[in-house]
């Protein structure tokens, strides 16, 4: 192998076509080279590699070769049918060729003298020429080692295969198992012969949840984003990577305001919420968060815009019934095609999958506003880290599309208090609305305050509100009381004296 010095032999990139990957890989994997894709069992190596190949066929019109060491070709084809990848059709069309290096069950092989694996290379070369392949995948080379007694020889021969593929000018992905999530790169010391480009897939167990991540360990001679990125494998789009730190804060900021659905609240926000802002509504159970969401949805519908309500706590019937009791007809709006209610149990999938689903619904329905009721229900099913990543990715996504979002958060304490959700995402959201119970002289009152609103002046008072059959009615401010937000109420002395006087004079 020769290396050209002086920067002439600059590494170009070949896009993989996997959502998010080309972003973290700064354009794709090094073109004309071999990259090692290492991961523990079940980390998604085969799917990733096949997706690289299938995307080549579908998106870039590049043919490919599959070298299978582990699964028999028929099994491999059948296993990815559910992803909509019709490998057998590509085989028939002569756009994909397969090299079957999987062990034959029940076959006896004995060794008598020296040998090499030239046949493997010859078969790969033949397959590449036959279909004019640009992309080659070898899945998974670990399975070839037990077939031969001398693993040093196999390593040496695989090195020859890698150089051979480089001469052919193809870009290849080699998958290999690893034993531990963190530790040596690959089994059988495979990284010794393809050390230039290494991608690692992980699937560690964190608090009883699997959390898939991908890391580009190195790309020789070219750049990539560093660190682990969460990803998910889903039945319709395969591998999708959530490129967190690659998200750019370049979204435009809009000055256009839209109504929150409550005239008084709009006044508190100095004329409504911004069209591309995220509002977090936080409060204890029963304070009226879903009510605010209903108002918000109604406001969008009334202006003839589409809105989506993602509900993770209540089912459709409950939501529709409650809305009806506040004078909002959700069913009719759905029939008009202005509203979409999506109810899911948070537990049905991981947060990464929820994110993909939400993004998909948004891209299909193209709403002006969305609401998530509640975010804290999603927090329940995830680790703090992946929850934070979820919120960042979601807010960035909807801001890019200039969609307004209202997220609700249920606090654990009835009075005052703050929740993990608040502390973790308060910096991400643009506006925070607190809904609180206030106990005053033996009665429960409700208080609303606008804690922050980015880019606008706003009402800083703590206002009382009532939930009536017309919805939320915001009233005056609380006088002579303090500590509402912390939950420990204190009264101003003057007020107390007056009150006591009234009490002892028999209320006259």
């Amino acid at each position: 192998m020769t290396t050209t010095l002086g920067g002439r032999d600059t590494v170009r990139k070949m896009p993989v076509g996997i959502a998010g990957f080309d972003q973290i890989a700064d354009g794709g994997i090094p073109k004309g080279r071999t990259a090692l894709l290492a991961g523990t069992a079940g980390s998604g190596k085969t799917i990733f590699a096949l997706q690289f190949l299938v995307n080549g066929l579908n998106l870039f019109n590049e043919n490919g070769v599959i070298v299978t060491f582990e699964e028999a070709p028929a099994d491999l084809i059948r296993n990815v049918e559910s992803l909509g990848w019709d490998i057998s059709r590509y085989l028939a069309e002569g756009r994909v060729a397969m090299v079957d290096a999987s062990p034959e069950p029940g076959e006896t092989v004995c060794e008598a003298g020296s040998y090499d694996l030239s046949a493997l290379l010859a078969r790969i070369e033949h397959a590449v020429r036959k279909v004019g392949a640009s992309r080659v995948i070898l899945d998974s080379v670990g399975a070839i080692f037990p077939q031969f007694s001398d693993s040093n020889l196999v390593r040496r021969e695989l090195h020859r295969v890698v150089s051979g593929m480089r001469h052919l000018g193809v870009t290849s992905l080699i998958t290999i198992e690893r034993v531990h999530e963190y530790g040596e790169i690959a089994r059988f010391g495979v990284e010794e012969f393809v050390a230039d480009n290494v991608i690692i897939l992980r699937n560690p167990l964190e608090q009883e949840k699997r959390r898939r991540t991908i890391e580009i360990l190195k790309f020789r001679g070219t750049t990539h984003q560093k660190g682990e990125y969460p990803f998910t494998i889903d039945p319709t789009s395969g591998v999708t990577i959530i490129p967190l730190s690659a998200i750019e804060l370049k979204q435009k900021s809009s000055n256009i305001r839209i109504s929150s659905g409550n005239a008084e609240f709009d006044k508190m926000c100095a004329g409504g919420v911004f069209r591309d802002s995220i509002i977090l509504v936080s409060g204890a159970t029963g304070t009226g968060k879903t009510l605010m969401v209903t108002h918000f949805m109604k406001a969008g519908i009334e202006t003839g815009n589409r809105v989506i309500l993602f509900a993770f706590e209540e089912n459709r019937e409950q939501l529709v019934r409650n809305a009806t009791s506040w004078g909002v007809d959700f069913e009719r709006s759905e029939q008009q095609g202005l509203l979409k209610i999506i109810c899911r149990y948070p537990e049905t999938m991981g947060l990464e999958d929820h994110l993909i689903q939400i993004q998909r619904e948004i891209d299909q329905f193209k709403p002006m506003a969305i609401a998530i009721d509640s975010l804290s229900a999603l927090e329940r099913v995830s680790t703090i880290k992946s929850f934070r990543e979820f919120v960042i990715a979601l807010t960035s996504f909807i801001k890019h599309r200039e969609i307004a979002g209202m997220f609700t958060n249920t606090t654990t304490m009835l009075m005052g208090g703050e929740s993990i959700t608040e502390t973790h995402i308060s910096t991400i959201t643009d506006s925070i609305v607190l809904l609180r119970y206030v106990e005053l002289q033996g009665n429960m009152h409700r208080a609303i305050t606008l804690l922050k609103m980015r880019g606008s002046s706003h009402d800083k008072q703590i206002r009382e509100y009532r939930v009536t059959d017309r919805g939320m009615e915001i009233g005056g401010t609380f006088h002579g009381v303090g500590g509402i937000l912390t939950g420990s109420i204190t009264y101003t002395l003057g007020e107390e004296r007056e009150y006591l006087q009234k009490m002892f004079s028999g209320g006259k």
Partner: protein, 110 residues
């Protein structure tokens, strides 16, 4: 019924040439009249290698009779070759039996 063998080689590599010589001597010697064989160069016929799933070269494949057996290597370890082919060792000469029993693998080129 004659034993049918195919030897897969890659071009003029040293191991391949050794295998061809060793197989010729074996079939003309101990296995004379028992076997017929064919040599296929994978570089010229890669699709046959694909069909027969050949990874290593040289590989000797016993096509018939009975189950398909594969012996990889330059066939220098004659005892192992005969054992691998599953041929009746009682019909073989004393030297062969000795090498089989001791598992001696250093027969070298015949």
């Amino acid at each position: 019924m004659k034993c049918k063998l195919i030897l897969f080689i890659t071009g003029r590599s040293l191991a391949s040439q050794h295998a061809v010589t060793n197989l010729y001597r074996l079939c003309e010697g101990d296995l004379s009249g028992v076997c017929e064989y064919e040599v296929i160069d994978i570089l010229e016929n890669p699709e046959i290698a694909e069909r027969e799933k050949i990874l290593a070269t040289p590989t000797l494949v016993k096509m018939s009779p009975g189950p398909v057996r594969k012996i990889i290597g330059d066939l220098s370890q004659r005892g192992k070759v005969l054992f691998g082919l599953g041929l009746d060792i009682t019909t073989l000469g004393r030297s062969d039996r000795a090498s089989l029993e001791t598992g001696n693998s250093e027969d070298g080129i015949l």
